[in-house]
């Protein structure tokens, strides 16, 4: 068990290193980078928007209900939603969504290419799978993850604002909400959130690529690989969340 975990971990680190070594070839892989950036980023925006709006809204609703009995506490709802979305929920939920939507697709594609010997075919042509398939994805995620996370944070803030304005037992003036949010959310909060998102995005992509490329067997194993890739990614996001937060605080 421990040997397997170490084996997977070592293999993912080696994959990262080999992909970094192929970074000078990025200009030649620009079309693949652009294609991945489009699929990872642009097509994920709507679902990130929906998810974040509801997370911000539910956060404001729960917080508004819980602190409603304390006089004046609702004036701080902006800071609660603002900081939670910025430092924690925005990056983590975007990473979870990425694992489910993009990570699963990456694992399925690479596992299928491995099982059907397309990866072997690339190797016989002396073309590194890392250069063609992994590096452009890692760069695409590194570029798109901050964009997705900022979008998630801002939409979450607006989701919270709608709730504080229109839910009768809160009914807070949006100006107070935004003022509280601005008072507490500083540049460091935003950069910390984006740094976390970047780490999560690269980890999810790397894990899913690694699991896909190490798939052995037949079509049945492609399904297992997808499940494995998504589950390991999500667990890793939570583990990294704790350690990165500990470093940043």
């Amino acid at each position: 068990m421990l040997a397997n975990i170490l084996d997977e971990f070592g293999s993912a680190l080696m994959l990262l290193w080999r992909s970094i070594c192929h970074l000078p070839y990025l200009p030649r892989q620009f079309a693949r980078f652009f294609d991945n950036a489009y699929h990872i980023g642009y097509t994920t925006l709507p679902i990130v928007g929906i998810l974040s709006a509801f997370i911000g809204a539910v956060l404001a609703l729960q917080a508004g209900y819980s602190i409603g009995k304390v006089p004046g506490a609702q004036n701080y709802l902006g800071s609660i939603v603002g900081l939670s979305m910025c430092r924690e929920l925005g990056p983590v939920m975007t990473a979870f969504l990425l694992a489910g939507r993009v990570g699963s697709a990456i694992t399925a594609e690479l596992a299928s290419m491995t099982v059907y010997q397309e990866i072997d075919a690339l190797k016989t042509m002396n073309i590194s799978p890392e250069r063609l398939l992994v590096m452009p994805r890692l760069v695409a995620i590194a570029v798109m993850m901050p964009v997705l996370t900022i979008f998630s944070i801002v939409i979450g803030w607006y989701g919270g604002m709608i709730v504080v304005k229109y839910v009768s037992f809160i009914a807070l003036d949006p100006q107070i909400y935004w003022r509280s949010l601005k008072d507490f959310v500083d540049t460091a909060s935003l950069t910390d959130g984006l740094l976390k998102a970047e780490v999560f995005g690269i980890a999810v992509t790397l894990i899913c690529c690694n699991v896909g490329l190490r798939t052995k067997g037949g079509p049945r194993e492609i399904g297992f690989a997808v499940t494995k890739g998504v589950v390991i990614s999500m667990i890793f996001v939570l583990l990294l969340d704790y350690f990165v937060t500990k470093i940043l605080i």
Binding site: Y116, E118, D120, I127, L132
Partner: protein, 252 residues
């Protein structure tokens, strides 16, 4: 452009997967420009040996030398192509891009030259009309020919074929056999063909080897193979079908 064909030396190669020994003391040489056909029943270890020759897998013991160089050292110095049994075409690319991938990634020629070369190779195999089709739109025979074309674009010095005629009808099998024989003349390539197909072996081979249970049982010319009195060779080359005494019952 013709490159020099290469020699292959297999020296005392062993390979096991877990407890199961797949290759046992395999040794033979293939001369430059020769067509060497490896035959044998399923599970004899033919495809594993092919993977070891091209460097997709490594022997547990023994040496494989291509032009005197270890397979690992020869990568980048000797151009080797493998025609996969399944074709192994990249499904996300159309036929043209599958063929253009190698020269593009290695920046061998200008875009115009790559285009001309790919189209010339496709025409050699009567595949011009399939240039912009995706692998999922091709028949089994076309996929095999595209796989051969992809290997040819690399201008290989050593070309390996894994069951090139499996799952093909007799006419298409004959076409593939003609392609293999013609390529030897046209591009001066050393070829190792793994196949069950006796007619393919007899038509194209300079020498034939029979593998059995991970061992080389015999190596000889096609003519001598056909005339052999050896039971195993005769049984493989001309199996008699006797429904009254089915061999799977005899074996069990």
């Amino acid at each position: 452009m013709k490159k020099d064909a290469v020699s292959v030396e297999i020296k005392n190669v062993y390979k096991s997967f877990g407890q199961q020994e797949v290759l046992h003391d395999i040794s033979f040489d293939v001369a430059p420009g020769e067509i060497f056909v490896l035959m044998g029943p399923s599970g004899a270890g033919k495809s594993v040996l092919l993977k070891n020759i091209i460097g997709l897998d490594w022997p547990d013991k023994g040496k494989i030398l291509v032009n005197g160089l270890d397979v690992y050292e020869s990568q980048g110095k000797v151009v080797m192509g493998l025609v996969f049994q399944s074709g192994a075409l990249l499904n996300s690319l159309d036929v043209f891009d599958n063929l253009a991938l190698y020269p593009k990634e290695h920046r061998l020629y200008s875009d115009a030259d790559i285009r001309a070369k790919v189209m010339h190779t496709l025409s050699m195999l009567s595949l011009e009309d399939a240039a912009h089709k995706y692998p999922s739109e091709l028949s089994g025979g076309m996929r095999k020919r595209v796989s051969i074309a992809r290997a040819l674009v690399m201008e290989p010095q050593l070309l390996l074929y894994d069951e090139p005629t499996s799952e093909l009808d007799p006419v298409m099998s004959a076409t593939i056999a003609e392609v293999i024989a013609t390529l030897k003349e046209e591009i001066n390539v050393t070829s190792i063909v793994v196949s069950h197909d006796r007619s393919l072996a007899m038509a194209v081979a300079n020498r034939v080897a029979l593998m059995h249970n991970g061992r080389i049982h015999a190596i000889d010319t096609p003519k001598r193979f056909l005339a052999s009195k050896d039971d195993l060779i005769r049984d493989f080359m001309d199996p008699s079908i006797d429904p009254k005494h089915p061999r799977f019952r005899e074996k069990s």
